[in-house]
């Protein structure tokens, strides 16, 4: 299929950044290099007007490799176009640069992904748990997290 205009613009600046692209179920998706995510999103924001980061999440595809997939949903509020950007991460190197410099809302979304999946966001200034408490061990939305695992009881022990 033909390339998206976003893809062509990114390729001009970073020739190897876009790994794959497709349109399935009516959703346009681009799979990009994780290390260059900030530069890519900056182009999307400045040149294509994707001014809203609608959602940011992660999917664990255990036992497939690479294991993790970061999923970003962008929206251009003016022209009402959507774009999904994905970046794949190896388990041994589960880290990706933060987007907090471009979108303030990335702060909480990234904290949530760190909390539930254990993905590190490089450059995030306040990367701590958001849904669970600090003493919680492990990252529960990973597929290999034991469902029946008990966690230490916090608070006053009588």
């Amino acid at each position: 299929m033909s390339k998206f205009p976003e893809h062509i613009a990114i390729e001009k600046a970073h020739p190897t950044a876009v790994l794959d692209w497709h349109e399935r179920f009516g959703d346009r998706t681009m799979i990009v290099e994780a290390k260059q995510i900030v530069e890519i999103v900056r182009i999307l924001k400045d040149a294509f007007g994707y001014d809203m980061l609608v959602d940011l999440t992660c999917v664990d595809y255990l036992p497939r490799r690479p294991r993790f997939e970061m999923v970003y949903h962008f929206l251009n509020v003016e022209s009402k176009t959507r774009l999904r950007v994905k970046a794949q991460l190896e388990e041994s190197n589960a880290r990706i640069p933060t987007l907090t410099g471009l979108y303030p809302i990335a702060d909480w979304f990234e904290r949530e992904v760190w909390d539930l999946f254990g993905i590190k966001f490089e450059g995030h200034t306040n990367l701590k748990r958001i849904m669970l408490y600090e003493e919680f061990e492990g990252h529960p939305l990973r597929k290999d997290y034991p469902k029946t695992k008990r966690q230490p009881l916090m608070g006053p022990q009588n």
């Binding site: 809203m52 959602d55 999923v71």
Partner: protein, 419 residues
């Protein structure tokens, strides 16, 4: 009086214009459970006098592992978990989740089913806004308004109850359709309820919009400019209060919204008052939508006729072997609805804004046909997550007393925020 003597001694010891004594900052925790809050959330504030100079918001007190639970249950079983997301307007959550799965399956409902869903969504939206505005008014002293609005919500929940048997935990949709047709006389009752709601809105409008105390406590408080609101990922009535006319129902139409005649109200300043006014105007628009749906609803089936997705009629299940087998195949573990590999994002307009479901179907090691009977991942994009994330920016620089109306105006729902 010994205490008073001690106080005057301290006062005498400190010179009146001592800068350190004057500039003392105070830490104040509001929450996690506070009588003026609509849920469990903790706001840590640093005060200078009554002014909030710094604050931090902490959430997660209601985390129920919604996304993990959805991975453990079949496609239809997960609908019941979506009820508890925004528990004031559960039908919208049900519809959002089901339509995401239907998008993955490539199904489309017959017109009657779509109209019923639209009706339920708008009933839920009015009840959501009534709760939000009513509670905010009560926190500012308008208890009458709260009672009037809860009376209106009662009528709406009776309608929902008459349709599906439950008021809050509705579970009113299924993948591929609706579980049952409308009861007799339901549509007429809808029109009666709309009439009542309009009356209540009129009364409350007189009580609030002309009330000096209410208006002065809402106007020019917690202003969020449009650009900033977009950067924070705001959607729904809050974003529209800041003047951006973005509504999922208009811009990415689903169900029958594009066939109906209604408008998107927007504010100008992006303060608390605008968010309140937008909600009031939106309820009127929802009333219009309900009336048009009642007038136009066609006959016919309410579910699509795909036997691999929709359960057979009860009379077939109990009456003939085909129906019984069909029922078994859909209920048994490892059979059920088989959704092909893929991923979709489907947004609907929830009570608070864009409620999106990102659903991944991925075959596991037991799958023989490349399909899965349960979701690999269900991600709910909660609309109030983004507004609560920006709460600290909204309350910094205002008074402690402004926290309550500001918090009321963004309509945080714990079930949806923490999931």
């Amino acid at each position: 009086m010994p205490e008073l003597d001690a106080l005057s001694e301290i006062k005498a010891a400190v010179p009146p214009d001592e800068p350190e004594f004057q500039q003392k900052e105070m830490l104040l925790n509001i929450g996690p459970a506070h009588p003026a809050m609509h849920g469990i959330i903790r706001i840590m504030t640093k005060l200078e006098g009554e002014l909030v100079v710094e604050s931090e918001v902490e959430i997660g007190y209601l985390h129920r592992a919604f996304e993990k639970s959805c991975e453990e249950s079949t496609w239809n079983q997960a609908i019941i978990y979506t009820d508890r997301l925004n528990y004031v307007s559960s039908p919208i959550n049900n519809v959002g989740y089901c339509m995401a799965v239907e998008k993955l399956l490539g199904l489309e409902l017959p017109p009657r089913g779509q109209y019923i869903r639209t009706l339920l969504c708008e009933i839920a939206r009015i009840s959501d806004h009534l709760t939000c505005v009513g509670a905010s008014a009560m926190e500012l002293g308008g208890f009458t308004v709260f009672l009037y609005m809860i009376k209106g919500r009662e009528y709406l929940w009776e309608l929902i109850e008459e349709y599906c048997g439950a008021r809050v935990t509705t579970m009113t949709t299924r993948v591929g359709g609706m579980p049952y047709d409308l009861p007799e006389g339901w549509l007429d009752k809808c029109l009666w309820v709309v009439k009542e709601i309009r009356e209540i809105l009129n009364e409350c409008d007189i009580l609030l919009t002309n009330n000096r105390i209410f208006v002065e406590r809402m106007e020019n408080i917690a202003i969020m400019p449009a650009e900033r609101a977009i950067a924070w990922g705001w959607t729904g009535p809050c974003l529209r209060g800041s003047g951006v006319a973005y509504d999922v129902r208009k811009d990415f139409p689903y169900l029958v919204y594009d066939q109906l005649d209604w408008e998107v109200p927007v504010g100008r300043r992006g303060d608390n008052l605008d968010r309140y006014l937008v909600r009031m105007a939106e309820m009127e628009q929802s009333c219009r939508i309900i009336e048009q749906c009642v007038a136009r609803i066609p006959g016919g089936p309410v579910s699509c006729d795909n036997k691999r997705v929709v359960l057979p009629d009860k009379k077939d299940t109990y009456g003939n072997i085909e129906g019984l087998m069909n029922h078994f195949k859909l209920i048994m573990y490892g059979h059920g609805i088989r959704v092909p590999e893929g991923e979709v994002y489907f947004p609907v307009e929830g009570g608070n804004g864009e409620l999106g479901f990102y659903i991944v179907s991925h075959p596991d090691e037991h799958s023989k046909d490349g399909c899965n009977d349960r979701a690999w991942r269900v991600r709910c994009r909660p609309p109030c997550f983004t507004t609560v994330a920006s709460l600290q920016e909204m309350i910094n620089g205002y008074m402690v007393a402004d926290i309550v109306p500001t918090f009321g105006s963004i309509n945080m729902i714990g079930g949806e925020l923490d999931r």
